[in-house]
């Protein structure tokens, strides 16, 4: 969904954080221990600050203003202050808020960003606060906010997403391939990629990204064992990498994919440099805006392999002075009615509640664009089996390190096994939960 540049995104928490770590002597401790039930039924009052991530714009601002109005009229003594943070630099912002004790009462954090806050005792255990919540939300997403070694659940699932495959039809046809029987397994896909690489003499590669941790998980390779050790350097994983190396040699993967970042494959697709990418269903809109010509022949298909589940959630700060109202508002934001309304704007995402996701048809009812509609149908079908493929323990630094090693392997400077061994060794040396 986000196709921005990493340059600025590259959160700079670093030394900034460094200084912080030195200052927050009291952080640490596993989770909010001894936490009690929070009663939201009484008379609520006071101010609640609410922070979203990159959702203040033409589409969503009216939604949030209305949402807050309705909550405030239900609870006349409560004032909700809405803050929205820009997409770039979010981790830095969260970090400085957490360290200076100014975390908003209610905020939006995906499970991996929430984890360090959980270990620092900055977030409320929502399961303890209100035991009835568990059955309201989609189980897979609810569990995304549980962490080994920490008692509790720390986020209310808000909107869920997955992605699908996008094919450039005219590019396929140009080199004599058809979009009628597109491959559905990794083997066929790689075979087609090699053929196409040869046919186009490397001018129109099909592959647009290196293998990822998701892809290993999707091929049923175990990522973490029971002790939390990374163990994905199996021969099967190495074979996947070696296949990519072969495909690369055949011109099936553009050299630039070796240094591609998140969203880089979709960018290359928009530039007409590759014939396939994965992206969310909102990509139909991106294409309309950025590459209308390519959009004309684009074909959306279910992703090859298991569908990944992306989770966004709403969390409540443990530093909040007004936990009751904060929890009430967090529940309000994530209730079925409000979530359904939200995903009608956030096209291609699914509500995080059981009731909300039951009626997938309703979500695309208001969409006129056939391509968008088609993509949304593919996504809602994929959602039923989608699971979280990337464990929260897999950090940005580990991903970067693995990408660096895989790039060497695909270029042919290392074997797939060597590259994965190094990546696993690095990951185990830098585990975050200890």
């Amino acid at each position: 969904m986000k196709h921005s540049t990493r340059i600025t995104t590259a959160a700079t928490g670093l030394l900034a954080a460094a200084a912080l770590a030195g200052c927050t002597g009291t952080a640490g401790g596993a989770g909010a221990t001894g936490q009690e039930d929070i009663d939201t039924t009484g008379e609520l009052s006071g101010t609640v600050s609410f922070q979203t991530w990159s959702l203040k714009n033409e589409t969503f601002t009216p939604y949030f203003e209305d949402l807050i109005d309705r909550f405030e009229s239900e609870h006349p003594d409560v004032t909700v202050e809405w803050l929205d943070q820009p997409g770039d630099g979010y981790q830095d912002k969260i970090l400085s808020q957490a360290n200076s004790g100014t975390l908003p009462d209610v905020l939006n954090l995906p499970p991996d960003i929430a984890y360090p806050l959980v270990t620092a005792g900055k977030l409320i255990d929502l399961d303890a606060a209100d035991p009835t919540l568990a059955e309201t939300y989609v189980p897979g997403a609810w569990e995304a906010y549980t962490y080994p070694g920490v008692e509790g659940v720390f986020g209310l699932p808000w909107y869920l997403g997955t992605d699908l495959g996008w094919w450039n039809g005219s590019a396929l046809e140009k080199y004599g391939f058809s979009t009628d029987d597109l491959p559905t397994t990794d083997e066929d896909f790689l075979a087609l990629a090699v053929e196409m690489g040869k046919a186009s003499d490397g001018r129109m590669p099909l592959l647009s990204a290196m293998p990822t941790i998701d892809q290993f998980a999707s091929n049923d390779i175990e990522i973490l064992d029971d002790q939390g050790e990374f163990v994905f350097n199996t021969p099967e994983a190495a074979a996947i990498v070696d296949d990519y190396a072969e495909a690369y040699a055949a011109g099936a993967l553009p050299p630039e994919a070796l240094t591609g970042d998140y969203g880089g494959n979709a960018d290359m697709f928009k530039q007409g440099k590759v014939a396939y990418t994965t992206a969310g269903s909102g990509f139909a809109g991106d294409l309309a805006s950025d590459a209308p010509t390519i959009r004309e022949s684009v074909v959306p298909e279910a992703r090859i392999g298991a569908a990944p589940l992306f989770v966004q959630g709403i969390n409540v700060s443990n530093d909040s002075d007004n936990k009751a109202a904060a929890l009430a508002f967090a529940e309000f934001v994530t209730n079925t009615e409000n979530q359904v309304e939200f995903v009608q704007l956030a096209l291609g995402f699914m509500p995080g509640t059981v009731d909300g996701s039951a009626d997938a048809e309703a979500l695309s009812a208001s969409v006129d664009d056939p391509l968008q509609k088609q993509a949304m149908e593919i996504v809602s079908e994929a959602m039923t089996d989608a699971r979280i493929l990337t464990p929260f323990q897999w950090t940005d630094a580990m991903k970067t390190f693995m990408d660096q090693q895989l790039a060497l392997a695909i270029k042919g400077d290392l074997s797939g096994q060597e590259a994965l061994d190094k990546a696993v060794e690095y990951a185990n040396a830098n585990r975050i939960e200890q």
Binding site: A16, A18, K56, E58, T59, G89, A291
Partner: protein, 317 residues
């Protein structure tokens, strides 16, 4: 543009550097720009020299403006134009100025630009004034501990800026300046590099001149005002430009300090253009073009100052 300092033919070497050569080149003659055969004015290039010069200027210009042209073209592209086509299409097929209107609807560009301007101008002022003070002391005075001060200043230039962000945030918050434009401004109020730039310029002031002023009983303030300032004005405008651009372009620091969207600076506000679910490169391009305007204006107006120095130098000889 001006031809003011083309060729003042005679100069009085006696003019003290403290005073600007009044109207040195105000007389404008209709003269050819290049040097004719037999002309004694060596400051002008010969005709082939002039042609080469323009040739080189044009060459560098082409190298330099590419990205800007693309950005400008993107900002005028309509919904039917491909943005990322390869090779890039420069001329929009569906041109529109709509993006400039939309971007101002989308975020309060002018209010954010005003905030950026406040911070940037304050940064420029304090940097110029404080750098001249410190630069004078370091460049033209003798005192114990100078080496230590130089060392401290220099060493801080070696730290990656990101190192300081969060620690500075805590400092700013303890001062009660979190979520304020003053808090955004404060850490950049004076930069070590700017002090060093001015110190370099001060070192170029002939010692005799300063010594003479001391003999005449000029106070430190008078010396700064009448001798140092006129001599370092060129470098001060460099400092002004650097400080302005630094403050104007900063993203991470204002993002950390500011919470209230009504206080945002332009860079932070513009980050919304690149948001989740919708990111239109046309809007981003239009926004960045607007953000460029103050810098271009500032530069083209300040650049004269760099060259005023050229005329003065001639006088000083």
């Amino acid at each position: 543009m001006t031809t003011t300092d083309l060729a003042p033919s005679t100069q009085s070497p006696a003019t003290p550097p403290g005073r600007r050569p009044q109207q040195a080149g105000r007389r404008r003659h209709r003269e050819p720009l290049y040097r004719r055969k037999g002309s004694g004015d060596f400051t002008k290039p010969s005709l082939p020299g002039l042609v080469t010069r323009y040739g080189l200027l044009a060459f560098v210009t082409v190298i330099v403006v590419g990205p800007l042209v693309w950005q400008l073209s993107t900002s005028f592209k309509g919904p039917l134009d491909d943005i990322y086509s390869f090779p890039p299409a420069i001329v929009p097929t569906d041109p529109t100025a709509e993006n400039y209107v939309r971007v101002t609807d989308f975020i309060p560009v002018y209010r954010y630009a005003w905030h950026s301007l406040l911070v940037s101008v304050a940064t420029v002022l304090s940097n110029v004034v404080l750098s001249v003070f410190a630069g004078y002391a370091l460049g033209a005075m003798r005192f114990r501990g100078k080496i230590v001060v130089m060392g401290v200043l220099l060493s801080t230039m070696l730290l990656p800026g990101e190192v300081t962000v969060t620690s500075n945030f805590l400092t700013i918050r303890n001062l009660g300046l979190a979520d304020s434009l003053v808090g955004v401004y404060l850490p950049g109020a004076i930069g070590a590099m700017n002090v060093l730039l001015i110190a370099t310029a001060c070192r170029m002031i002939p010692h005799e001149v300063l010594d003479a002023a001391i003999v005449d009983g000029a106070t430190t303030w008078q010396r700064i005002r009448h001798i140092v300032w006129p001599n370092v004005k060129g470098m001060a405008s460099v400092v002004a430009i650097f400080a302005f651009i630094g403050a104007w372009d900063d993203f991470l620091w204002p993002l950390i300090v500011l919470n209230d969207p009504s206080k945002y600076t332009l860079t932070v506000g513009m980050a919304y253009l690149n948001g989740n679910f919708q990111a239109d490169p046309r809007l981003i391009a239009a926004g960045t073009m607007i953000a460029l305007v103050p810098i271009v204006v500032l530069f083209s107006s300040l650049q004269r100052f760099f060259f005023r120095g050229v005329a003065e130098g001639a006088v000083k000889g």
